[in-house]
Symmetry: C2
Amino acid sequence: MSHDSLLESFTAGRRAALSRAITIVENERAGFRDVLAALHSRLGRAHRIGITGPPGAGKSTLTAALIEHYRQHDERVGVIAVDPTSPFTGGALLGDRIRMNEISLDAGVFIRSMATRGSLGGLALATKEVADVMDAYGFDRVIVETVGVGQSELDIASAADSTVVVLVPESGDAIQAMKAGLMEAADLFVINKSDRPGADRLAREVSMMLHLRSGNVMRNVPAHHGVNLAAVKAGSAARRSVPDSVNVNAPSPVESVPSWEIPVLKTIAETRAGVTELAQSLDSHRSWLTATGELSRRRRKRITERVRDEVARRLQRVVWEEQGGAALLEESLHALEDGSTTPYEVAARIAERILPAQGTTPG
Amino acid sequence: MSHDSLLESFTAGRRAALSRAITIVENERAGFRDVLAALHSRLGRAHRIGITGPPGAGKSTLTAALIEHYRQHDERVGVIAVDPTSPFTGGALLGDRIRMNEISLDAGVFIRSMATRGSLGGLALATKEVADVMDAYGFDRVIVETVGVGQSELDIASAADSTVVVLVPESGDAIQAMKAGLMEAADLFVINKSDRPGADRLAREVSMMLHLRSGNVMRNVPAHHGVNLAAVKAGSAARRSVPDSVNVNAPSPVESVPSWEIPVLKTIAETRAGVTELAQSLDSHRSWLTATGELSRRRRKRITERVRDEVARRLQRVVWEEQGGAALLEESLHALEDGSTTPYEVAARIAERILPAQGTTPG
């Protein structure tokens, strides 16, 4: 199938074309850039939701619960599971797997599990590009579920419009969770398995830490942003966007901007308890993003990062593959090991294959 | 101070010169490559130990316990804490901090905490380079402690000769831990806080999973490696390197190679229980690495990665800073946002600043 006819089928909403386009993009097959470029103008409709948190927090079950919720409201959902052992690909307990199977038979749901590749940097980029494909296809929500609490995993989640950090009472005290940078990434906190002992304490701790950190009523909003407060208040779903403690009628020395007050929600994903509230809170967040201009800012940041990632990918390919960098490195291994050259000399010589020669580097 | 006199002081073992060299390297100050290149021939003496695991596992306390152990044996220890909230920089409970202060007053110990920077990729590279500086300075052990269980954090830990993965009964069941890729990274498992309920169960689970995974007696040894089994058996510290279940005297169809049987140790870092055994096990691992040639293989891999990282760093700097890529991106933002161009077109134009023009890319 040519790319033109692929794009035609894709635009017509054929599921096989979606699947094919994702495969091309995920594996960087020939022409993947053309596919992505062709879809670029169709981006921005989907609400991108990142779900992250430590292992065992119940992220997949929560994702399944959200899918069910959105399907009941006739929304179409794309899911990217960045975890080879996710229940979405069979690496789960039997009960879960049956539920996942049901979900995956639903034509309004499309699930793609992305295996970890050599470099997580590459995976992060591919994940964002697959999310683009799903967005362009017309899903109302695109959910990216990442395992782990590491920086790269958070980066993936943060490429979403709304990032949900899921914790459980067992995942260690809140202070430890904060350590891992979750605090910076979260737009919403969820305490899952909230019927277990310690849930209330964890919720209180997280709330307290969020509060302590906020001498920052302005936190999520860049200082230079003009905001139409009336528009925010008029938005039906913007209930949460004006914190109680801010008197919006008081005169203020600087322009007053409604901040997003990060909620700490409780769920029991297994029984679906709290899932409706989570979905409502996600909608509130999205309204806040739109009303404050934060959505544009995040998408601008995302587009900037995409250009940077793509430049890096191009340069790496040229220098290592086309210009023989890999071969030169191979030849230099002995000299590197016996210390007669250094990684910095070899790297300079490889980079010179494409860079204009510089005065300081030895011939 | 010129770099020459810095290197002279460094070689003479002056602590101020070590500190200065680390700062230059960590912050990529002018001439940092010269410093690293000058030290390259002095690398390879230190035993590099990575300590990783989920938040709250007691990694810092375990690191402190190892430092004390090594100091009692007159070994000098360098520590890199990749965590801005580590007790090593004051972000700890009072008791811990006092202990850390004592350690840090010891002239045989040098501790550097590395804050997380914008990109963890950059942090990972800087961490390895700081470890090089410590190695070149003459530390017997260089310990890198990383928070989190994400891929990038594991990458940092895996740059060590020996990687210790620390778990606690509270950190969720073993299956979840395995999910996060810890299994692949670990040379040794430690169940810390092993006096708590669930420790024995966790230890059993981890052992069982390690066992299940091994139809791979050969696991850590590349197939093409010739190994002198006698040398291994002669090594005093190589006790652990021949698993009980392998009859080394039996004739074997393929060349038999002693694998490293990943131990699952129990510690209570607070009370130092099990720390001597951990240190012994680390020595066994190092002997195994040396005897089997695995050490050379890991160092070759490390040197290869260093060249790749350095090439990427050079290219990025040239294209974004020297060749005006950043300005071009800035100028293109509007067109990117209104969809009249795509990230892929802009990236191609930026990459062209240094790449030989290609037939397929538009002017």
